[in-house]
Each structure stands twice: as structure tokens, then as C-alpha cells.
């Protein structure tokens, strides 16, 4: 597998690659908003299509036998960097299409989702700490279901950190309001 390594300092390498996805989001803004109006069948077909693209790109570009995966953080893009772009976009569209299919009726769930959405920055900053302090000293399971459940618990703990941060240190949230 090809590993690019860091050539430029202070995250400029990662920023330049992230800039590609950022620009794609900026350019596709108007077209993406039409996605909400697609029929449910169209959404399913599109999701399956992007899933197929994601897995094909992953299997062609990823080496599952190595610990080092592909990521912007590690500046590792695989043997075919354009496939990395394709897999990044496919995964993005899958999540966007799936989430546009949900219809939340409960206002309590909507509020929780809103708080977590505005507090993603806090989850990003503290989830690793929650893993280390609460789970790493006793959990070493390779079970996928355990990983799903542990991550869910982690998210629940981070939710309370978001609530505390909004009350006592809103600067951590970037002064984002978490209430509607």
C-alpha cells in the first residue's frame, strides 16, 4: 500500500486533501438539497449504488491485512488516491440519503438529535477520553456487536458532557446554541 506521509507541516497536507471534499460540498450545494425531494424508491436505489461503489473502491484500494488504514489524518490514500476520493464521497452520500429518509415525529428525539448535532465538536474532543477512562482498562473485545454497543454508550456519556458544556462552558461548543 502506498503511504504518502506528511510532507508539509501544521496539518497543511490534511487540509489540502480535506479542501477537495470541502469544495465538492460547496459546489454541489444546490443539487444536494434536491435529494430530500427524491422518492423513497429512488433513495433506496441510490443508497445501494453508492454502497456498491464504496465497497468496490475499498476492496481495490484497501489492504485489510495491515493495521494502517486509509485516512486523511494519516495522509494514507492507498495505491489509487482517486478511489479514496470516490469512497469518501460514496460514504458521504450514503449517510446523507439515509438520513433524509428519516421522519422524526417525537419532539423529544428531535431535541436530542439537535443537541447532539450542535455538540458534535464536543463528542469529537472527548470521546477518546471516555474510551480511555471508562472502557480501556477492562474491555479488549474484538466483537463487532460489542464495539457498536460501547460506541453507543460513549455517545451517551458525551451527550451529558454536551449538556454540561452548554451550561458552564459554552466556549467549548464554539458558542453554538444547542436548543432549538
Amino acid at each position: 500500500m502506498l503511504y504518502c506521509g506528511n510532507i508539509l507541516p501544521v496539518r497543511i497536507d490534511s487540509a489540502l486533501v480535506g479542501f477537495i471534499f470541502f469544495t465538492m460540498g460547496y459546489l454541489f450545494k444546490q443539487k444536494l438539497m434536491k435529494m430530500y425531494n427524491l422518492s423513497f424508491q429512488c433513495k433506496i436505489i441510490n443508497t445501494l449504488l453508492f454502497l456498491l461503489i464504496l465497497f468496490m473502491a475499498a476492496f481495490l484500494n484497501l489492504n485489510f491485512e495491515q493495521k494502517q488504514g486509509l485516512s486523511i489524518n494519516a495522509c494514507a490514500y492507498g495505491d489509487y488516491p482517486l478511489l479514496f476520493l470516490l469512497s469518501g464521497l460514496s460514504g458521504t452520500f450514503i449517510v446523507l440519503i439515509l438520513s433524509s429518509s428519516f421522519k422524526m415525529r417525537s419532539s423529544r428525539i428531535k431535541n436530542t438529535i439537535l443537541k447532539m448535532s450542535n455538540g458534535t465538536i464536543v463528542i469529537l474532543g472527548f470521546h477518546w477520553m471516555v474510551y480511555k477512562l471508562l472502557f480501556s482498562w477492562w474491555l479488549d473485545s474484538y466483537n463487532v456487536l460489542v464495539s457498536f454497543f460501547t460506541s453507543l454508550l460513549n455517545l451517551a456519556v458525551c451527550y451529558f458532557i454536551i449538556i454540561l458544556a452548554s451550561k458552564y462552558c459554552p466556549a467549548i461548543l464554539g458558542n453554538r446554541r444547542i436548543e432549538s
Partner: protein, 183 residues
């Protein structure tokens, strides 16, 4: 535009916000899931959980860069720096500091504290975790905020020239390719 049309537009806008919120929550869960093996320090062995991590890392951060681009509005560089200082850099610094304090306390408890490690942690903060060996830091995921600050600064400089945005997209892809070929 009649009353019904205005209500329809308002409904669509509200629904869009909900759907983007849902997408962000799903994705941040995937980010947390994707860090499961790394944060727990699990040794690598070919298994379904490691395969899942590998697939997740393909798209978890590209999604957030994409969504940041979706909501981006070009403003002047000075305004952008002022806005992003509060929205990105200040939270980055505060959260890094909190993480460092907890890490130091943890090291004291486990009797593995060293001053050089402390200095290294602050160096990682200054460099946006772009330092070999920074992958084990508890705040390593915050590189995203640092990188996003740089990206938005670049975007404010470039996107005001509408046609050039596409040019720079092409330039970015070329950089990605050259970056890979150089090695």
C-alpha cells in the same frame, strides 16, 4: 407567493435542518465507532472489527469536510478569522487543554508521568497533532478543527472567484495524486 407556498418553503427548510442534524449524529457515531480499536489500544489482527474500522476511516472525515463546504458562505478573510477563532480554534484549545490535564492526572495515578511527555503534548497542540507519535493522544481527533480552520481561510481567499473554485478543486486532486506518487 401565497400563504401555502410560504408554509411549504418553511417546512422544507425545517426538514432540511433536521435531516442534516440526523446525518451529523449518525456520522459522529460512526467516528466514535471507527476509533474503537485505536482508543482501546487493541492489537491488530485481521478480524471483522478491524475490517469495519478500515472501511469507516475511508469516509468519516470526508463527510464532515463535505458538510462544512455545504454550509460555507465566502466572507472576508478578517471576518472569517474572527468567526472561526470562536467556532473552531478556541474550542480546539480548550478541549486539548482539558484532555492534557486529564492525561497528566492519569499518568500521575499510574506513575508514568514524565515532563518530556508533557512538553510533547503541548507541541502536538501547536502543530495540530501533525507530529509522529501523536496518534496516541486523547485529543488526536481534534486535528479536524485545526485543518478546517486552514481550509476555510483558503476558501475565503479563493471562492470569491467563482470559476476558480473548480480550478482549485482540480488543483487539489492533482496535489493528492502527486503526493502519492512522490512516495
Amino acid at each position: 407567493m401565497g400563504v401555502k407556498d410560504l408554509k411549504f418553503m418553511s417546512d422544507i427548510t425545517n426538514k432540511r435542518i433536521e435531516f442534516m442534524d440526523m446525518a451529523k449524529v449518525i456520522m459522529i457515531y460512526i467516528v466514535v465507532l471507527g476509533h474503537y480499536t485505536y482508543a482501546l489500544g487493541l492489537g491488530f489482527k485481521p478480524s471483522s472489527v478491524w475490517n469495519l474500522m478500515h472501511i469507516i476511516t475511508l469516509f468519516h472525515m470526508p463527510f464532515f469536510f463535505f458538510v462544512s463546504g455545504l454550509f460555507f458562505k465566502p466572507i472576508s478573510v478578517k471576518e472569517n478569522i474572527k468567526k472561526d477563532w470562536a467556532r473552531l480554534l478556541l474550542p480546539y484549545l480548550i478541549m486539548c487543554l482539558v484532555n492534557i490535564m486529564v492525561m497528566i492526572a492519569f499518568d500521575f495515578i499510574t506513575k508514568s508521568f514524565s515532563f518530556s511527555k508533557c512538553v510533547f503534548l503541548f507541541y502536538c497542540v501547536a502543530m495540530g497533532n501533525d507530529v509522529p507519535g501523536s496518534g496516541a493522544n486523547w485529543f488526536c481527533a481534534l486535528w479536524f478543527l485545526y485543518a478546517l480552520f486552514i481550509i476555510k481561510l483558503l476558501a475565503c481567499l479563493l471562492f470569491k472567484l467563482k470559476n476558480r473554485a473548480k480550478l482549485w478543486l482540480g488543483g487539489g486532486i492533482i496535489y493528492l495524486y502527486n503526493n502519492a506518487i512522490l512516495w
